[in-house]
């Protein structure tokens, strides 16, 4: 009886030990954190979501890297670079004896290949949009193995900074985009559950003591949509940091371990809603007419109590938003603009002037249709669900029925990028850089991320044409004053037209385990792990410093 109990137990223990041995090498360090969704792509040129951006940052090798703390450019795969006088060409001198994670050699041909792919109009690369200041083709001139000149059709401001986003791909590797030059490579992908990134054995960087970087052997990215569970895992010590916390989790963690949380003040990210203005969308014509009406959009905006959103949803860890540039971005933010004030009476007057009438507590349009629309947002994001519920009540006060629909993220992306079968959407915008030039992929009417009406062949409205002109103009001049004027004007147009109804700018909230060392939190993304190859875990700190 006893023996039969012991035997299976021994077998179980042996199996467990074998499993442990298989999962990680003895003494290997593993950094753990969560991503909000399964990455949509591993192709670094097609990245347009947060999870894919995380993988690109951890695996991609770039020519130059923006130091998130000092906001200065540092040499990476390029040892030096020069920009020509008018800012339309850049020449890189490349590091030699560098190899991709699969052992393939790195050369100027790989840079030329990457640029050619990046600027391919058929690829619709969101990263490539930032380089499109003028119509025309991009040419590359390779001189030897380690020198390349990239020439653009027109001047591009901050040209060298844009290369911080361009992960170099191998022109010859059979592994294609899975062969990388960054500190880690994707070793395992369990879709919807986790990703394992192992240390790139060919990573070129070494510390001053000659030790190959990164210090941490493996990074585990757990796919976790639920932010509460992420915070719970943080408090249990199952993950090492939370790059971006919501206000509720921040308050909860703060009450337990105030030394582990950090509120860096208003950040660069914003939360906004927008209406579907795609002409080919399967919406009835009368709804398309509402959504393309400036008065309608402004009335909706004026009916939302942003102060309540800040106070109730974000527990004071946010500010009412004004434009696509956060007040945290002191140089580029247009100081003349103020958040749209709550004024439901003014909203009703504007709607009346546009032919809308209140009948028995319900707003009707000129043709008698009751004003009702749906607002989609991603399921599991409690802040957005709460904001949607508050907006629902605010709009009910002016007779508008809002149906809040939460969708799983892939379904939501499918609707807003492919089928356009939605009416309004509430999402956030993640800003990676202070320079508005990096938002070209949103503001150009031809851009794929021009969410309210993406990929236009010609601008649908005069104000979008003006935004196109101003954004291209600011991207092609080196005169900082002129650029500032252009970007200020774009902010004014967006404030007047409200294609995005900006709601709040969230504070930059994060949490870091005391077990993780060499962390220097920054306002720019990725706030905590921007120096991933320098981070150390636990007792490794002594050897790293």
């Amino acid at each position: 009886m006893k023996l039969s109990w012991i035997r299976p137990s021994l077998v179980t223990i042996a199996a467990l030990m074998a499993a442990c041995a298989a999962s990680a090498a003895p003494g290997a360090s593993e950094l753990r954190f969560c991503i909000g969704a399964q990455p949509k792509t591993f192709n670094p040129l097609l990245v347009d979501d947060d999870a894919s951006e995380t993988v690109r940052y951890l695996t991609g090798g770039v020519l130059v890297r923006l130091d998130r703390n000092s906001q200065k450019l540092l040499p990476e795969l390029a040892t030096s670079w020069t920009i020509n006088r008018d800012g339309s060409a850049i020449t890189f001198v490349l590091r030699e004896n560098v190899r991709f994670s699969d052992g393939t050699s790195f050369s100027a041909d790989d840079v030329a290949y990457t640029m050619q792919k990046l600027m391919d109009p058929n690829l619709h690369s969101p990263t490539g949009d930032a380089f499109r200041s003028r119509e025309g083709t991009v040419s590359t001139k390779v001189v030897g193995k380690s020198r390349i000149t990239v020439t653009f059709p027109g001047p591009i401001v901050g040209l060298d900074r844009l290369f911080d986003q361009v992960a170099i791909m191998s022109a010859t590797s059979p592994k294609k985009e899975m062969a990388v030059l960054g500190p880690y490579y994707v070793s395992e992908n369990k879709a919807g559950a986790y990703l394992l990134l192992d240390r790139n054995p060919n990573y070129w960087k070494h510390d001053p003591g000659g030790r190959q970087l990164p210090y941490i052997d493996r990074v585990r990215l757990d796919v976790q949509q639920n932010r509460d569970i992420e915070a719970l895992r943080m408090s249990r010590g199952e993950i090492d940091f939370i790059n971006s916390l919501n206000a509720e989790s921040f308050e909860a963690l703060k009450s337990k371990a105030p030394q582990d949380v950090l509120d860096a003040g208003v950040g660069l990210d914003s939360e906004q809603m927008w209406f579907n203005q795609v002409p080919a969308s399967p919406l009835p014509d009368y709804k398309k007419a509402w959504f393309t009406s400036n008065s309608f959009r402004r009335a909706i905006s004026s009916s939302i109590r942003r102060d309540d959103l800040v106070r109730v949803v974000f527990k004071g860890h946010a500010q009412p938003a004004v434009s696509f540039i956060s007040p945290a971005n002191k140089f580029w933010f247009n100081q003349k603009l103020q958040p749209h004030a709550f004024d439901s009476q003014a909203a009703l007057r504007a709607l009346n002037a546009d032919g809308f009438q209140m009948q028995n507590g319900t707003l009707h349009d000129r043709a008698g249709h009751p004003v009702e629309f749906s607002l989609i947002t991603n399921a599991g994001n409690k802040d957005r669900e709460r904001m949607a519920a508050m907006i629902q009540q605010d709009l009910a006060a002016i007779g508008i029925r809002l149906n809040v629909v939460t969708l799983d993220f892939p379904s939501l992306i499918e609707r807003i990028t492919r089928t356009f079968n939605y009416e309004a959407c509430l999402l956030g915008l993640v800003n990676d850089d202070l320079d508005p030039n990096t938002q070209m992929n949103i503001w150009l009417s031809s851009a794929e991320n021009h969410q309210w009406n993406p990929g236009q062949k010609t601008p649908a409205t005069p104000w979008e044409a003006e935004i196109d002109r101003l954004m291209r103009e600011q991207a092609s001049t080196l005169d900082a004053k002129k650029r500032k004027q252009d970007v200020d004007r774009v902010q004014e147009i967006v404030w007047e037209q409200q294609p995005f109804i900006y709601l709040v700018n969230k504070n930059a909230l994060s949490a870091v385990s005391p077990n993780l060392h060499n962390v220097h939190p920054a306002v720019l993304r990725p706030q905590i792990y921007w120096n991933i190859d320098q981070l150390t875990l636990g007792n490794e700190v002594a050897t790293a410093h």
């Binding site: 408090s235 909860a252 629309f373 399921a379 599991g380 669900e385 709460r386 629909v405």
Partner: protein
């Protein structure tokens, strides 16, 4: 056992009556946001405090009970009827058709139904009122949850068809609808009732699961599932024990259903 059943029935009756009278008993409308008073503690104005948007939790519990307690039996009815029809068809058709029906049943049993519901919900029209949306959700649950019950019904129908009294009935000249109505259905009734009662807590919990994923009942309509989402705020719970009211009510109601059901089976 009788006493336990009585208590369970009385409890279910009380819960049902109070949810029916929600509009009378609730101190506020379930969607009204007291924005100056979010996350409030228990008080005379708010017997169970307020939620994170300042909505009265007691009112939401009453209305949420109405939603969950009335729609779950409706979904159970749909699934039981489907199970009876499909199980019956399997027995009364030829062998090839029976195998086909049972294969479909096995396929439904092996499907990850939660993902199936999520996928189907994502394909539904967006612009529907919250009440319509919740009815659709429960209808979906009902129309996808018949497979297990169909297998039981099929096995029991086959057993009954092969029994002596059915043979006697056939020998006495009973055929077709009369045989079904007079002899088969009355004997199948206990099985169908048991399947119905079993399904109710299953559907309540299914809607709860969907709501916890954020894919259940649409705002601002409450349900037990959406109320349980509050319990995800792990660290605040110890300071606000009244947040457990929805969980306690759910557990008590599901337990009472089981007690009532066991007595029914007995």
């Amino acid at each position: 056992m009788k006493r336990a059943r009585l208590l369970a029935v009385v409890f279910l009756g009380l819960v049902t009556v109070s949810s029916v009278l929600a509009s009378v008993l609730a101190p506020a409308h379930y969607s009204h946001q007291f924005r100056d008073d979010p996350d409030a503690a228990c008080s005379w104005h708010h017997p169970l405090g307020t939620d994170d948007l300042g909505r009265d939790r007691f009112s939401r519990l009453l209305y949420g009970t109405r939603v969950s307690l009335f729609l779950a039996p409706a979904a159970a009815l749909i699934s039981t009827i489907l199970a009876a029809l499909i199980g019956g068809i399997a027995v009364f058709s030829n062998k090839w058709a029976e195998q086909a029906v049972m294969s479909v049943t096995d396929l439904f049993l092996s499907l990850p139904w939660l993902f199936l519901v999520i996928t189907i919900r994502a394909l539904l029209p967006l612009n529907v009122a919250p009440l319509t949306s919740v009815i659709i959700t429960f209808a979906l649950l009902g129309s996808l949850g018949w497979a297990g019950a169909a297998r039981v019904v099929c096995a029991d129908t086959r057993r009954l068809c092969e029994s002596d009294f059915m043979l006697h009935a056939r020998a006495s000249g009973f055929t077709g609808f009369r045989l079904l109505w007079r002899h088969l259905l009355p004997n199948l009734r206990p099985v169908l009732l048991a399947q119905f009662w079993i399904s109710i807590p299953v559907f309540i919990l299914s809607e709860t699961n969907l709501s916890i994923l954020g894919l259940g009942v649409a705002e601002p309509l409450p349900s037990w599932g959406s109320l349980l989402r509050e319990l995800e705020g792990f660290s605040l719970l110890s300071a606000r024990p009244w947040q457990f009211a929805s969980l306690i009510l759910l557990v008590a109601t599901v337990s009472c259903f089981h007690v009532a059901m066991q007595s029914e089976e007995a």
